[in-house]
């Protein structure tokens, strides 16, 4: 189990939440199997996965809306999974916000403090503070149905944070927003998390969102953790073929190692690996156009025909057929014209050895 944390994350390394061997079945349907994961204090952890990967179920087990079929969830010295949701010092921002329609914005935010029977003066102060923080004080007296989706999102956030939870769970909170607002909220949410210093567990299926916001990403696939690492690491050194493909674009190269040399179709490069089949991930941006310059020491070169060229603004993605069934996708700076015959070049150190990701049911 990878437990690497980003050096730039600014987190203390004290563990806040510990998920131990959690499994969940619905009847015969296995949704989660043997999940173990630690969340540090002040960490922004993203659970990333496709729909049906079990990410929401894992979140609901932490919140207490589902009970795990096996395993334990601990918060510090406290066993969390035995407690009803209303006793857990965990708050949730729901996917569709789940604001109480019969209460005003202000009453929604005050809800947690009211049921905890805090003094009214304290409630008034903290609600105002929370609304200020999400810039929604002007709408304090509105009903949720009278404000926009983005505003409802902020209220849901304020309603959770006002209780000063030790851990905030966010279930695809940005998925209902349009692209622009979504990008803006990603930045706001991240800076808010830094400011309040509360651990966030953020669930999403959007790998870009996960990359932008997280200290660490836990990649979930068919109910099992594929890789847990910082965005940089999971992108730069994906552990499995699935991780490499799910996060960003990649070329998966199926090769054969023999006597310290990898052979993959027309490509060969030296590698200190044991003999046998091997799978490599090579990011398109690590493949350059050789452009007639002499080969750098140790770099791999291959000639091919450009089959497809897609303009992406600053860069272009080109699909190059290199013969022997080998197709490489390369990201090149905008070339300014159509390409035909090209010579590609990459450094063998950029070809990352990954594990196969066998099909699961």
């Amino acid at each position: 189990m990878a437990t690497v944390r980003g050096a730039d994350a600014g987190t203390s390394s004290r563990t806040l939440l510990s998920i131990r061997n959690v499994a969940k079945r619905f009847g015969k349907n296995v949704v989660l199997r043997d999940i173990s994961l630690d969340v540090a204090e002040g960490e922004f952890l993203t659970i990333l996965g496709e729909s049906g990967s079990g990410k929401t179920t894992l979140l609901r087990i932490i919140a207490g809306f589902e009970t795990a079929s096996a395993g334990e969830v601990w918060m510090g010295e406290e066993r969390l999974d035995r407690q009803p949701p209303y006793r857990r010092r965990v708050n949730t921002v729901f996917q569709h916000y789940a604001l109480f329609p019969h209460l005003t914005v202000e009453q929604n935010v005050a809800y947690g403090l009211r049921v905890a029977k805090r003094p009214e003066a304290e409630i008034a102060f903290r609600v105002k503070e929370a609304l200020d923080k999400v810039k929604m004080s002007a709408h304090a007296k509105s009903k949720p149905s009278k404000i926009s989706g983005g505003q409802q999102q902020r209220i849901a956030l304020a309603r959770a944070l006002v209780n000063r939870p030790r851990l905030l769970l966010l279930d695809e909170p940005l998925s209902a927003l349009d692209a622009n607002l979504r990008r803006q909220m990603q930045v706001e949410l991240k800076s808010l998390q830094r400011e309040v210093g509360i651990s966030f567990i953020f669930v999403t299926h959007d790998q870009e969102e996960a990359m932008v916001m997280s200290d660490r990403i836990a990649l979930l696939r068919s109910g099992e953790l594929e890789q847990v690492a910082t965005p940089r690491e999971i992108y730069g050194r994906p552990a499995t073929a699935y991780a490499a493909q799910f996060i960003g674009h990649t070329n998966l190269l199926k090769g054969e190692v023999r006597a310290g040399v990898v052979r993959c179709g027309v490509l060969t490069w030296p590698a200190a690996l044991p003999d046998g089949p091997a799978l490599f991930s090579l990011r398109p941006e690590n493949i350059r156009l050789a452009a007639g310059t002499p080969a750098g020491t140790g770099s791999v070169r291959v000639r091919g025909k450009v089959r497809h060229q897609a303009f992406h603004g600053a860069t272009e993605l080109i699909r190059v057929e290199c013969g022997d069934g080998l197709v490489l996708v390369a990201r090149t700076p905008g070339s300014g014209g159509a390409l035909d015959d090209v010579e590609l070049e990459f450094s063998p150190t950029d070809a990352i050895l990954v594990r196969e990701s066998p099909e699961r049911i």
Partner: protein, 282 residues
């Protein structure tokens, strides 16, 4: 879009129906309420307010009206007290048995009203099921007389008959509450009790108002239950209207009473609709 002819073709039949079978009879009844009956048992078409005066002056009329409202109010309260927990249980805790239990609530509605009213007669009568049982286990020596032919019997029977009507709108309102609101409430630290009073109940108020309106309006106008089980002390206002239109042959007075009840009910419906609107948020 639809042509004018098409729109006319679909809206006209119901309009004609409502005019001929609802508005015109009401209008006729309204006219009757200002006429009178002569000594020779003919209707005199002289316009006056004597019938309405009589309604206020003669004790038996307004007292029976008040008693009917009292019975209807009790039926409403009992129907809500029985219907709400049932709806709540079905909506939140019944799980897979939900559909079956729902059918069990609905099926009695398919059974003839008369059968259900007579069933209570068999149960409550002096040699009925209940009295026989009570004497058999030696709880009482003589049959309890107050069980049948009393306001008690009327309230019991009407509660039995109209509880499904109170149950249905409450159940519908509860089913409409998104489950994530309940989860959000628990998530924010509210116990199940707090969640009920702060989230579930407020959001079910439109259903409660609709259910209460059904139970009250339907039982206020009921005349079969008091006729079969009410006895002299359990008479309701509709029984008086029936006898005025029948044996007593005083259609004008019957029309005046009916019209007052109509106003009462329409006023109530208007009020309950305002209340439902105020408490709905979707």
């Amino acid at each position: 879009m639809f042509s004018r002819a098409y729109k006319a073709a679909v809206t006209l039949p119901p309009l004609v129906w409502v005019t001929v079978f609802l508005l015109m009879p009401y209008l006729l009844m309204f006219c009757y309420s200002f006429w009178s009956v002569s000594a020779s048992q003919t209707i005199e078409h002289s316009w006056n307010l004597a019938n309405y005066g009589q309604l206020l002056r003669v004790n038996v009329y307004w007292q029976t009206l008040l008693r009917s409202m009292g019975i209807a109010a009790r039926v409403t309260i009992f129907s809500l007290v029985l219907g709400y927990p049932l709806a709540y249980f079905l909506s939140f805790y019944a799980g897979e048995k939900k559909d079956l239990l729902y059918q069990l609530v609905i099926i009695p509605l398919w059974v003839s009203y008369l059968v259900r009213a007579y069933a209570w007669k068999t149960i409550l009568g002096s040699d009925g099921v209940l009295n026989t049982l009570l004497q058999y286990v030696h709880l009482t020596k003589h049959p309890l007389e107050f069980l049948l032919y009393s306001p008690f019997a009327v309230v019991l029977t009407l509660t039995h008959i109209y509880t499904p009507f109170a149950f249905l709108p409450i159940y519908a309102a509860l089913e409409h509450i998104p489950l994530n609101l309940v989860e959000a409430s628990h998530d924010l630290g509210a116990t199940p009790g707090q969640t009920f009073w702060k989230v579930i109940f407020p959001l079910s108020i439109p259903g409660v108002v609709a259910g209460a309106t059904f139970a009250f309006v339907l039982s206020l106008g009921d005349f079969l239950a008091p006729l079969l089980l009410g006895g002299p002390s359990g008479i309701m206002i509709s029984n008086i209207v029936v006898s005025l239109f029948g044996a007593a042959y005083n259609w004008p007075l019957g029309a005046a009473i009916s019209f007052c009840m109509l106003l009462l009910v329409v006023g109530l419906l208007f009020f309950s609709e305002r209340l439902e609107k105020k408490w709905s948020f979707s």
